[in-house]
């Protein structure tokens, strides 16, 4: 990232060697204690009693149902927020209208709300004593303590991810290319599919993997609306909690290691996308200086 800075610093603009070593050591010690040790602990605890018990944790029907529910939830929540994210980014980055900055702030709102409160608001709407509770009971529709509630809570907590990746990206790119396509006779949708989408695909992917990680790992909001019915309304994080509270540590950490693996994959994809966009920016700069 800032490799040139570290290499080309004169003596006046960097610290003495010992200060550098001490600061680096301190930072690494902090990172080790707070990030690396917990990460290793998840896998070490999961494998504490060997691979046999570790793998057995995944043959448990409750665990399998939790994995299935987690996948279903993410498969619904992420595409919904993907469509919203693109629509919101198109609105905010391509048009000037009144209340534009208010809208931008409102999109971030779910990040400011505690996950527990996020779950609660859906209980107040759809729970037995909620606004729509009597109507739902009459028509025999279950939302709270059922899968729709879990999906709704997950949609809420992952709501801003894709939009907030795309808005700054599309603002920076500007709309010149889209205007050119329109002038050359492309229709609105053709412009979107052939010009806009190829330009934003990496940012889009970035938003999707972040939203997906959160969707699969959400705990607080889902915990409020799920009702913790084993084999029915438990996602992987909720299943981890149950096993842990039953002192089944190997089972809890085995399921947790799945989620930790997902987190590592997320970080790897994220780093790859960042590395790629840095390289592209560097090439652009080189071309600019050559011309």
């Amino acid at each position: 990232m800032a490799a040139s800075l570290t290499v080309n610093r004169s003596q006046a603009t960097t610290e003495t060697r010992w200060v550098r070593y001490a600061l680096t050591g301190l930072a690494l010690a902090f990172i080790t204690l707070f990030l690396i040790v917990p990460l290793i602990a998840v896998f070490a605890e999961a494998l504490r009693q060997g691979w046999g018990l570790f793998l057995a944790a995944f043959t448990d029907p409750d665990a399998l149902s939790a994995i299935r529910l987690t996948l279903i939830t993410a498969a619904i929540a992420v595409p919904l927020n993907l469509v919203f994210g693109v629509a919101a980014a198109w609105t905010i980055s391509r048009f000037q209208f009144r209340g534009r900055s208010v809208l931008t702030t409102l999109i971030d709102l779910p990040f400011a709300v505690s996950p527990v409160v996020a779950g609660l608001i859906y209980v107040l709407l759809f729970g037995a004593q909620g606004w729509f509770g009597p109507w739902l009971a009459e028509h025999d529709i279950k939302i709270i303590f059922a899968i729709p509630g879990i999906v709704l809570a997950t949609v809420f907590v992952t709501f801003p991810f894709i939009a907030r990746e795309l808005i700054p990206l599309m603002e920076a790119q500007g709309s010149d290319e889209e205007q050119a396509a329109l002038v050359l006779g492309a229709s609105g949708w053709q412009t979107f599919w052939r010009v806009t989408l190829p330009n934003i695909k990496w940012g889009l992917l970035y938003g999707v993997i972040l939203a997906n990680a959160r969707a699969m790992g959400e705990f607080g909001a889902v915990s409020v609306v799920s009702g913790h019915i084993r084999g029915m309304t438990n996602t992987i994080p909720l299943h981890v909690e149950i096993l842990y509270n039953e002192y089944n540590f190997v089972g809890a950490f085995a399921c947790a290691s799945l989620l930790a693996l997902l987190a590592l994959v997320t970080l790897a994809v994220k780093s790859f996308i960042e590395w790629r966009s840095e390289k592209l920016a560097e090439e652009d700069r080189r071309h600019a200086t050559e011309e």
């Binding site: 006046a12 690494l28 917990p38 000037q96 400011a112 790992g217 994080p237 842990y244 540590f249």
Partner: protein, 287 residues
């Protein structure tokens, strides 16, 4: 002024309409339900719920621990950002990527992992247990890192670790070397340059990261409950209070406390927006 400025680009009505519709459905309508539910309470009842002794104790724990965690991250975040931007060492890219782990790792996983390693018999906790090497420094009782408010601070420090690093890093990388060279040629030493040249540039970013971390810490639930011990009046956090009211089917009580939390979140969101506006203005003026 017209509502919208003219543009050759199509799709405003569709994308704007869908954005507003979806946001109302998912975010605004449910949040309104919360406020309406509370307004069915009389002020006296509301106050009685939110000022109950056990609830007030959770505010103290939540705000105290969040503040402490944010302060810890203010220092360590600056340190980590500094080292990542200015020094080179093997594995730097890996460490840089790993800083985002708390954003990617589900909170429940972080919670059980931290509770296990900081427990008195855990990998790190045992060094501070009674009779151990470092524990001896804290008296015969040792230092207990889990199942008390200290554990809450540890969990919150983990969860909010990336905020300060990620807000400070780009600003630090953008500081021109010439500024420091000029200061140096005028006779300033490294500490003076840091304090009088670099730190003033970093302040808005530091404060933004600090308040983002604080705001996140206040609402955090999953990572905290496993390590907190959850003792009434001692180590219960406010989100847990909402959950336990819900478990007793006390929806009114849960809603009242949630409204207090929501109010605090809004104030923090406003403060953060203000800070970002301030820092953008400052950076704009410099360029």
């Amino acid at each position: 002024m017209a509502f919208k400025q003219a543009s050759v680009l199509p799709g405003f009505n569709l994308s704007f309409g869908y954005t507003i519709f979806y946001m109302s459905l998912i975010v605004l309508l449910p949040l309104t339900a919360l406020v309406v539910k509370t307004s069915s309470l009389e002020w006296g009842q509301f106050w009685a719920i939110v000022s109950e002794e056990r609830v007030v104790a959770t505010y103290k724990v939540t705000f105290g621990a969040s503040l402490l965690a944010a302060i810890i991250n203010l220092f360590t975040g600056l340190l980590v950002a500094w080292v990542l931007v200015r020094y080179s060492f093997p594995g730097k890219r890996l460490i840089d990527a790993l800083v985002d782990l708390p954003f990617a790792l589900p909170t429940a996983v972080a919670g059980i992992a931290l509770a296990t390693i900081y427990a008195p018999n855990g990998w790190i906790g045992q060094w501070f247990a009674p009779g151990s090497v470092l524990g001896g420094l804290f008296g015969s009782e040792g230092l207990s890192l889990a199942f008390n408010p200290t554990g809450i601070v540890i969990a919150l420090t983990f969860v909010t670790l990336p905020f300060v690093v990620r807000t400070v890093q780009p600003v630090l990388a953008d500081i021109e070397q010439e500024l420091e060279e000029a200061a140096s040629s005028l006779g300033a030493n490294r500490w003076q340059i840091f304090r009088l040249v670099i730190l003033p540039i970093l302040w808005p970013a530091l404060l933004t990261g600090f308040s983002l971390a604080f705001a996140r810490a206040i609402g955090e639930y999953g990572s905290v409950i496993f390590i907190a011990g959850n003792m009434p009046f001692k180590s219960e956090i406010t989100p847990l209070m909402i959950i336990s009211k819900l478990e007793q089917y006390d929806y009114v009580g849960a809603t009242a406390i949630a409204v207090v939390m929501l109010g605090v979140s809004f104030l923090l969101l406003l403060a953060i927006n203000g800070l970002q506006w301030w820092s953008a203005r400052r950076l704009g003026r410099r360029n």
